[in-house]
Amino acid sequence: MKIRKMAIVTTVCLFGFGLLLTPTMVFSENLKVGAVFSVTGRTSFLGDPEKKTAEMVAEQINNAGGINGKKLELIIYDTEGDATKTNLAVKKLITKDKVCAVIGPSLSGTSMAVVPLAEQYKTPLISAAASYKITWDEKKNKSRHWVFKTPQTDTMAVEAIYTHLKKRGINKIAIASITTGFGKSGHGELVRLASKYGITIVEDESYGPKDTDMTVQLTKIKGAAPGAIVNWSVGPTQVVILRNWKDLGMTEIPFYQSHGFGSRKNIKLAAGAAEGVFAPLGAVNVAELLPASHPQKAVTMGYMKNYTAKYNEPLSSFGGHAWDALHLVAKALKAVGCDRAGIRDYLENKTAGFVGQHGIFNFSTNDHIGLTFNEAFLMVVVKGDDWALAK
């Protein structure tokens, strides 16, 4: 029937139209680096500052003459936090755009979706996500050859908190976590490491990312009378739970947030309920509080000044992961040029002591995370609507 044929012809024509919308490739001498971030979507608070930071860093490098005279071309695709899109985007970067290396993705989930691609296409990937499984192949019990990452792991954040609790003599805690990847990962580590630090978990609550009220969970926690509360979430819930904590009159129980709390915006939204709350934060968050002798003082102050000046918004802890990743790649490019295997080897062996936003990196054959917890995190407390270093 003609109608069916015409329908097919219509679709094929639309295909052709679609081709017109697809940008054509430009042949260039540039050094291409691919990036995938969750710029939009539910986790845009991660990907958006990461994208902005990456663009800022690329601009700074190019303004200073590029890498060995060549322009650094950053190709960024938005994953929207979706595993399928991330997978497609990374394949596109590697096969079609022919990038030298890939930085990102922003999420542990989407990172796991593209880790096999790094191996399959032999391209170095520096993830900006937290889970240690990204770089550690549990089945083979060794690091993934082509994959690195820059953020601290949840393990490190939990260890920072537990160390502080132990120092204060608190050994009975209640935990509350959000039912997203971030929350569940943190929850897993909190439970796993508790006995190592002599901590007993007396109450274990959870809530959804769209929940607007945690009085039920906190009421249960109140009933268990813990020595401290550790909350693992990111997004509005980490603020709402603080307000509930204050409203229920529970401020006598010390409250610890996760490293997801790292933004002054959260303190403001808490409307006074964040006073006295603890959190482990990377140096990038508290650049101004660092003593002048601190090894990360210079880079964190520089990043903060440049970012806030360029984008007119407070810096975000997560942008720092992109800063670290892109600078590492740039260093490798400068040394070995656009050689994927060469970049990988350089990252693994020659970047020891790299001073980044979230710590000082020391990659090695079996450590593609490169950080240890006591210098990756500082314990910070909210005092008078701002951060202060905790004792």
Binding site: T10, L19, N87, L88, G109, K184
Partner: protein
């Protein structure tokens, strides 16, 4: 709609077979076969949904759940227990069928908005389970290390090989479904769609037919889910959320609800819009979907498949007006 010609199917098959060769030569569309794999996977789901919604007239806003069940059953059985992937695919379809019966029997007694909300609630509950049962599903961080597919030593481990595999499935299902539509079953479905009371009076077991079609759509969605899991080697719950069920709805509405070709056309268009063409809208891609959906439902209720008919109608009017 009643008689579906073979020629368009053959032309389309040729197009599918030839396309990867062509795209290899044109740099701008080099990654298109990769996208077509997803178009094919989604087509499997929309074919089933088209039969359910367009021909049997039942609304389902929870197909993502069956897509997810296929994916997770396949993933868990292969990654954790090491069973053969093909076998697990079949198990996934069986599980999906059982769930479809359990949910379908009470739900399909409902009508209209009630049915829509029941399927919606079901879809969300399954999504929550995927998220919460971390020991089984890996929770929000998903499951990785899912093996790929291979047959007698031949591994489907490249984009092109998987492309042909997926489209083989799509064509098989497509031809089978067309046969169903043109059979007595198909006529019974259309009778049910126009009037349940009349069909029941004619001796058609209305509830049984509805459940059967629902189960069929669930099985197809499960097959799609397994193929997805074996391709990406990774799945996480957010792929199977409410918005995906709505996207499927948009595919059907855009392609054309009452015509099985609409399922494929809709899947194609939304795949390409979603993964390639709407990039510059970034965040606001979602608004575009909403606008497309609204425009289609107001101005083009028959979907893209209806365009030729409209053009023909306009042409005839011009001719008859002299």
């Amino acid at each position: 709609m009643l008689r579906i010609r073979k020629l368009p199917i053959i032309i389309f098959a040729l197009f599918i077979i030839v396309f990867p060769r062509v795209s290899r030569l044109i740099p701008a569309i080099q990654n298109y076969p990769d996208l077509m794999i997803f178009a094919g996977i989604y087509s499997l789901i929309t074919i089933g949904l088209s039969l359910l919604m367009g021909y049997a007239g039942q609304i389902s806003l929870g197909q993502a759940a069956f897509y997810g069940i296929g994916a997770y059953v396949s993933a868990i059985l292969t990654a954790t227990y090491g069973l053969n992937p093909w076998f697990c695919m079949v198990i996934g379809m069986i599980v999906a069928a059982i769930v479809a019966v359990l949910v379908g029997v009470p739900s399909l007694k409902l009508k209209g908005h009630y049915l829509a909300m029941a399927t919606l609630a079901f879809g969300i509950i399954v999504f929550i389970i995927f998220n919460e049962e971390v020991e089984w599903t890996g929770g929000p961080d998903g499951m990785s290390g899912i093996p790929g597919l291979s047959l007698f030593g031949f591994a489907f481990d490249s984009v092109e090989k998987y492309y042909y595999l997926v489209w083989f499935f799509v064509f098989s299902v497509f031809v089978f479904t067309i046969n169903v539509i043109q059979s007595r079953t198909g006529r019974a479905l259309r009778a049910i769609h126009s009037s349940e009371a009349a069909s029941s009076a004619m001796g058609i077991n209305v509830s049984r037919f509805k459940v059967v079609v629902f189960v069929y759509s669930a099985i197809l969605a499960s097959l799609a889910g397994s193929l997805y899991a074996y391709y990406l080697n990774f799945i996480n719950p957010s792929t199977f959320d409410l918005f995906f069920s709505i996207k499927l709805l948009i595919m059907i509405a855009l392609g054309g609800m009452h015509d099985i070709w609409g399922a494929i056309i809709g899947a194609f268009l939304i795949t390409f819009l979603s993964f390639e063409w709407l990039h510059f809208f970034e965040e606001f891609e979602v608004i575009v979907y909403g606008v497309i959906l609204l425009l289609v439902i107001i101005f083009l209720p028959q979907g893209m498949v209806g365009i030729p008919k409209i053009l023909k109608g306009l042409f005839n009017k011009k001719v008859s007006n002299g």
